[in-house]
Symmetry: C2
């Protein structure tokens, strides 16, 4: 009984990793769609959304079944609740990737222009935050989760800088307003991806802290 | 020319207020759907989403046209950029209302149970944050925007309390796991509504600060 339960937990973790892989890939592809102006990549990201949504529901329902049938104890309960919360964040990252891809698609129809913002760098950073947050989750590594929180400050700073630089473009080179605005909103979407990675990292800290408390002393 | 431009800005503001009204109403209805277990309200919230999404696109495209055609100066530019950002937050609030309504719908199929969480109170608070953030925007009132930031701490605290209390229900009364989990995720959605209200309030502060700087001294 307990053994089967722990197998089910491992399967749940596996599914969540697949979900995270989908979300990270969607972000990378959406940024690549922007960088290379490739309409097929825009379409690929758009078409990946239903699969991500389907997997989200599957994970939610597996987690709910485990909660309902197994009455898990403190640390396992925290683990399953963390999975449910992380799952919601990953689904939202998928949505943000679609937003970015659609803006990339609209940018494709406009004259190319060199803008004072490094979207690929922001995208790489945001995707790395998701990956690291999930690594922290797999390894139960609170220190790695703390690192993710530090990276979020970096993404926030890049987003603010992009906002100011691109406002200046709109003011001084109004012929590039559309391009600058799309870039500004893509940067903002990436900043939100960072926020979701932060949520995940905080869930890891919450889960690990619960585990450490259990290991350090008998529960009250 | 300038006069027509300022009329267009007023129209843009009007549309954003309609958008905010939709978003706030969707939140209130979704909470009411949960409180009263009324499936028609669930359906009403679900059906309101396309209208919110349509209005979002309309506002975006009006704002973009204004930017492209009018080459607005600093304070008007900041205003239009704020509208675009607030618009995105309001659309997301509409999504969260749909999430809440769907969970309310699933809760309707379960046995009613008294849970240690005051969802209507959290909902009222979150809806009030959206309303106050928009009021701050209309009046250019940075002080009111600051108040919204303070309310966000309250929603965050309620959400944390709900999380812990509902974890205990899942642990100690596993027969109510589904109900407790739905309530937990509704509370989390409301906490996110508060985050979006906070984003809006920060945009107001950003916009007003720009305006005050212009009024206080000549721009550099």
């Amino acid at each position: 009984m307990r053994k089967r339960f722990h197998q089910s937990l491992d399967e749940l973790k596996e599914k969540l990793l697949v979900m995270a892989g989908f979300a990270e890939q969607a972000i990378q592809r959406s940024i690549e769609a922007y960088r290379t102006r490739d309409p097929e990549l825009v379409e690929l990201v758009r078409r990946s959304e239903p699969a991500i949504n389907r997997l989200e529901r599957e994970i939610d329902s597996t987690a709910l079944d485990l909660l309902a049938m197994e009455q898990p104890m403190a640390v396992d309960l925290r683990f399953i609740l963390s999975v449910i919360r992380i799952n919601g964040d990953l689904e939202r990252v998928g949505d943000l990737a679609v937003n970015i891809a659609l803006r990339a698609g609209e940018t494709n129809d406009l004259q190319p222009v060199d803008l004072p913002v490094d979207i690929p760098r922001m995208g790489t950073l945001a995707a790395a935050m998701i990956r690291k947050a999930l690594e922290a989750f797999i390894d139960g590594d609170a220190q790695l989760a703390e690192n993710v929180l530090a990276l979020d400050d970096e993404v926030d700073t890049l987003n603010s800088a992009a906002f100011h630089a691109l406002s200046n473009v709109i003011r001084n080179q109004p012929q590039y307003t559309s391009q600058a605005l799309h870039a500004m909103l893509i940067a903002r979407n990436l900043e939100r991806v960072g926020d979701h990675a932060t949520n995940i990292a905080e869930d890891v800290i919450f889960w690990v802290k619960g585990r450490d408390i259990r290991h350090a002393a008998p529960a009250a």
